[in-house]
Amino acid sequence: MAYFLAQSGNALSLGGIYALLALGLAVVYSILGLINFAHGALMTLAGYVLVFAAVLGLPFYLSAPLAILVVMASAVLLERIAFRPVRGASGATMLLTSFAVAVLLQLAFQLFISTRPQVVPLPDFLTATVDLGSFAIGVNRVISVVVAVVVLIALNLFLKRTVLGLAMRAAADDFNVTRLMGIRANRVIATAFALSGLLAAVAAVLWIAQRSSVDPMMGLVPVLKAFIATTLGGLGSLLGAVLGGLLLGAIEIYLAAYLPDAALPFHGAITLGVVILVLVVRPQGLVGASRELGK
């Protein structure tokens, strides 16, 4: 029982960070129908900002907001440079564009920074663990769950209470009619990208707290996990993204905890198998929204 509880705690904390990642993808997808695979590269960028800020001697409480600001600005810039020209194009066009952006950024990191991992100095509290009796849990994991919940609540308030938030949800429903409300479409989209940048940077800090370094390829795994989680939850639904993240975390942890040894080599395949099974039963994902923001 204690073992199960411990693994459940693990599942929740891994799911928390997946939820955060998936939210970042969902915010943009719900409005533009664009799966932004450059989201991972934005995380990597956040890591490099932390490295450079440390080199400059900035303390964490300055370097973290700096990383968040730089990544938010970059996300908005990416939209302006790369995604606006293909706005309204077919899903495949936008998908390829986002792949291209991701690869270009990765190459830029390799060429202009280093192919080798750079150590990211993080404050001790992020890498510490809390003892909860039968099991211990990383502080960064507790934070990721808390942050995921806080972000979800804040996002929900933003989307329900502010005109810009309402406009984002409206744009997710019907882009042209939103413009008929006299709302600047570009502002809504820029806001969505800024939000996804914010989520990418926060997730990056938590992700790096786990692995301690950043390298040009760092974003690959998280963006894949986020993609699986959003698909699982229902592409385009924010609530779905969170649920999908939590479910993916649970699937991974419980399989690693309870699969017999002989089946362990197939852990990855079985995980994806379970995901596919869920999608066969619910093709629209858990929540089943298609591009409807924030119900």
Binding site: A170, N176, V177, L293
Partner: protein, 244 residues
């Protein structure tokens, strides 16, 4: 006096398709003008071009004396002209109240917005009742009321409506048209696109008939209504069916 809205030699193209071919039309303050025509005549494209959702390939649109063709929809709406699109297009995942709130997104004067809102809820009591409900769960007629109410929230001087009767029960259609007359009495100028020519001509002051992307005839509504032969020829089955 110059008309409130005028279009001169308006052309709309979608690739090789020429949807609108040199339309001239004008709407004066306080009028209800109907834009009639069969399916695919280019009525919706004309409205879209007027409100900036498609860029005219050629021609000029003036609103309140200013050239607005080529401007963004957002700008045009802020200037006091808006469109209730065909098929209503309420934001289904937003509540009724949220839909209305967004309608006033272009306005800064909060107190005025509160007044407008009160007027609209008076016009459409059902919207007050369903205030917290997701718009997607309303009936077709209620959605149409919401779509119009939402458009009115921007306090437009000119309201464009695209097929407000589409898919609605006859009784509901009557209600909607009654409402348009009342809005006119309150000083609103209206340009309405309708397939139900009889209903539209009943409330309109003037009308244009579009055929194949161009204006085929125009005149006072009463005249067009009387000229049954012409109307039958241009409006086809719609007119005949409604008569039957």
């Amino acid at each position: 006096m110059a008309p409130m809205l005028s279009a001169t030699d308006l052309h709309v193209r979608y690739g090789a398709i020429r949807a609108v071919r040199g339309v001239d039309l004008a709407v004066s303050e306080g009028e209800i003008v109907a834009l009639l025509g069969a399916n695919g005549a280019g009525k919706t494209s004309t409205l879209m071009a007027l409100v900036g959702l498609v860029r005219p390939a050629q021609g000029e649109v003036r609103f309140g004396g200013e050239v607005i063709s080529g401007r963004d929809t957002e700008d045009i709406v802020t200037r006091g002209m808006t469109l209730v699109p065909e098929g209503r297009h309420v934001f289904p995942s937003l509540t009724v109240a949220e839909n209305l709130r967004l309608g006033a997104a272009s306005r800064r004067d909060r107190e005025a917005v509160v007044r407008t809102r009160a007027e609209i809820l008076e016009l459409f009591p059902i919207l007050a009742e369903r205030s917290g409900q997701a718009a997607g769960t309303l009936s077709g007629g209620q959605q149409q009321q919401l779509a119009i109410g939402r458009a009115l929230m921007s306090a437009p001087r000119l309201l464009l409506l695209d097929e407000p009767s589409l898919g609605l029960a006859p009784q509901v259609v009557d209600d909607i048209f009654d409402l348009l007359v009342r809005l006119k009495q309150r000083g609103l100028t209206i340009l309405i696109v309708e397939q139900d020519a009889v209903a539209a001509l009943d409330i309109a002051d003037r009308a244009y008939v579009m055929v194949n992307g161009a204006i085929a005839m125009q005149g006072p509504a009463a005249e067009l209504r009387a000229s049954e032969q012409v109307a039958h020829a241009y409006l086809g089955a719609t007119m005949a069916e409604t008569h039957a």
